[in-house]
Amino acid sequence: MSAAHLPALLGGLTLAACLGAAAVPRRALPGVAGAGTALVGAAGVACGVAALDRGIEPIELAGALPLAGLRLAADATSGLFLVLIGAVAVAAGIYTAGYAGRGHGSARTPLVLLPVFVAAMLAVPLAASVTTFLFFWELMALASLALVLAEQRRPAVREAGLAYAVMTHLGFVAVLVGLVVFAAAAGAEEFGGLGEAAAGLSPATRTAVFLCTVIGFGSKAGLVPLHAWLPRAHPEAPSQVSALMSAGMVNLGIYGVVRVDLDLLGPGPRWWGLALLAAGAATAVYGVLQAAVATDLKRLLAYSTSENMGLVCVALGVAALLRATAGNDEPTAAGAAAVVALTAAFVHLFGHAAFKCLGFLAAGSVLAATGRRDLDALGGLARRMPTTTTAFGIAALGACGLPLGCGFIGEWLLVQSLVHALPAGGTLVALVLPLTVGVVALTAGLGVAAMVKAFGVGFLARPRSEEAERAVEGGPAMAAGMGLAALACGVLAVAPAVLSPALGRVLPELPAVTGQGAGAVPAPDLDTVLRLPGTSGAMSPGLLAVGVAVGIVVALAATHWRARRRPAPLRDAPLWACGGAAPTARMQYTATSFAEPLQRVFDGILRPEVEFAVTPYPQSSYLVERASYRSRLRDVVESVFYRPVLRAISAAAAVVRRAHQGSIHAYLAYGALGLVVALLVAM
């Protein structure tokens, strides 16, 4: 089978999975839908590998859409994203078979739509014309909206669905306007034609297209301040859908930026890079801050998604900025650092997809076992759900961005690019890059706090609720899904060299960042030892892992040997509770109390609503009868930025409503008036 048949296979499998899930009896539904989704994902991976290998030639389906038809093609960049999303879908599909089998999100419609959603996500990077791209983009949005609404009986889900529907369509409008303006100005519809015509466009058009598309794609990627839908919709969706959205769909926002703004629009002025960098930095810090104080496990993960997309965006911004600084006449340090930054973006996308997919699957497993997402009601799961706990531990390590976690390599590369570009860049770069290093460092530090909280409070210590006390593991299918994602985490953390061939094909395709002619820089060598072109940075995650493993073995052997030589007298002592009664679960750190110091430090940004009331006995004000403490954290951006807008829209709607009295005569008059105005304008 040639590469050209793979998209057809993808489509066929999707259709089969859909029809299969719609037709089979209820009992077999989760299995069929899960397997179908996994197969569609696998077909996506196959497409991606073929595209990375040799590219997929354009396929025209003239009759598929009226007027424009569909046009599919894939280069290595598309291939990279196909592999990424396909792999996430495989893990999530396998997991679905177990998760929905236990009665979570097991209604027929969402399960039938699951393969459609995956296929739509896979089709976006396959799209090779504006119409095709927009068509699949909207299909993806609608399918995901339906999936978010899977448990629509809960009011929170309906509210989240509404927020998601509005935001995603506003984003769509921005993308639509941007791409249509681009296509109209370029006089072409296929991406190839757009790329050729882009250099000849007026700066104003290019700027307009850049702004519109960055806003549209940024809202999909969850960039601040357009992120508000993300921490609402991702937690409310069924967990495999959360995984698909958080580890798959948000990447397409980044794909849009890479494809349209970096690739097709070509090298832009410096402020493009700066704009991306600023948006990314704000997102990273804001996202991680919200994650650090969140008490809802899935909301925490959703904010962490926002944070990581921010980091990727920072990397893209740094790459664009440095490329605009470097020039194409000779190889420069800035050019080399730009390539490292772009590599960092892609590597981090993969790392993030792996740990976020695993994180959401594990959170789903907790949700399935306990019915709770509130960290303050969890705890003690390590003994009851060892597989899930291990899985979440691996995911949390990845999200921390520490060595041996899969988020580390990307962040390390990003910091390297920032550090090594310094001498070459001029005043602006010399000012911006150190600040960015600070942002990345702050993000990493707060990320550790957030993940320590999620893992420590959620899984260790004693259960804080009866549900957590009774939790049991979810079965082989869920374990297999999580195992697959965990495997990906491990491989990406220890041997990022697996990405090397793919990046070697992708980076030369993006000359707008990697440079042309004499200024072109080769892709960094992600071998056993990571060596960066043009800089002195080198690091070996594999050797690091081996070192740590050897260290652990040596330490274990030494303690074992010591214990054998001098048997310690063993004595069972009660847990020390400062002389109080036996420790209870209520004495433990909660997610709220763990985050309280942070909340205090960042009081000005987070603006928590805290109420503290003490009721004394009537006899004496020194004798406290009751004390109540309530703290509520809202998304500040939402309350400061969105509410006024919503209020303004409502006010405007009220004005318009005055013209609508329900009288047919008035409407006829409006029609006549409109016609007259149109005629006058036409003359």
Binding site: P569, R571, A573, P574, W576, A577, G579, G580, A581
Partner: protein, 176 residues
């Protein structure tokens, strides 16, 4: 500069170390030779010689003893030069300084604290209350002296015992 100058002017204010008398108890060297001998200061564990980390438990004292213990670790008496030191948790301690009669409310807490102190350990009852209920004998909230609740290794008489008496016993344990 003012600080250094005042340190120089003041000099050393700790009282000179009094000679050890080992009143009523064998010196620790001997104790370590006969670890099986029970009762009294002879049974003080040799492992604690040189350095003794102490946790203080107020089992129901009038706070007189506390003031004297505080004085022991003041610059004047400076018990730390004999290797004794106060710590903040029984988990960090080798020994307990228990003051006051054991009241009903503190009985369990005292038992828990002793249980939480790793062995080898010493329990030192400080003050007459701790030894035999002293002033408070027979009161309604009193369970008994410390030795009625937990095993006691050494005692310091006095109401309140003067710091040098407390230090005397601590020096028996540390052997310095």
């Amino acid at each position: 500069m003012g600080l250094v100058a005042s340190i120089r002017r003041l000099g050393r204010i700790a009282e000179p170390a009094p000679p050890t008398t080992w009143a009523g108890a064998a010196p620790p060297d001997q104790a370590s030779k006969h670890p099986e001998a029970g009762g009294g200061a002879e049974a003080l564990p040799a492992a604690l010689r040189g350095s003794l980390q102490l946790r203080h438990v107020d089992a129901g004292s009038c706070n007189g003893c506390e003031i004297e213990i505080g004085a022991c670790f003041s610059p004047v008496y400076d018990a730390e030069r004999y290797g004794a030191r106060l710590v903040a948790s029984p988990r960090h301690a080798d020994g307990l300084l228990v003051t006051g009669v054991v009241t009903r409310n503190m009985t369990d807490a005292l038992r828990d604290t002793v249980a939480a102190t790793p062995e080898p350990r010493v329990v030192i009852a400080v003050g007459d209350c701790a030894r035999d209920c002293g002033e408070f004998a027979g009161a309604y909230g009193v369970v008994g002296a410390v030795r009625d609740v937990v095993p006691v290794d050494a005692e310091v008489p006095g109401c309140p015992p003067p710091p040098d008496a407390i230090i005397q016993v601590l020096r028996q344990v540390t052997g310095r």
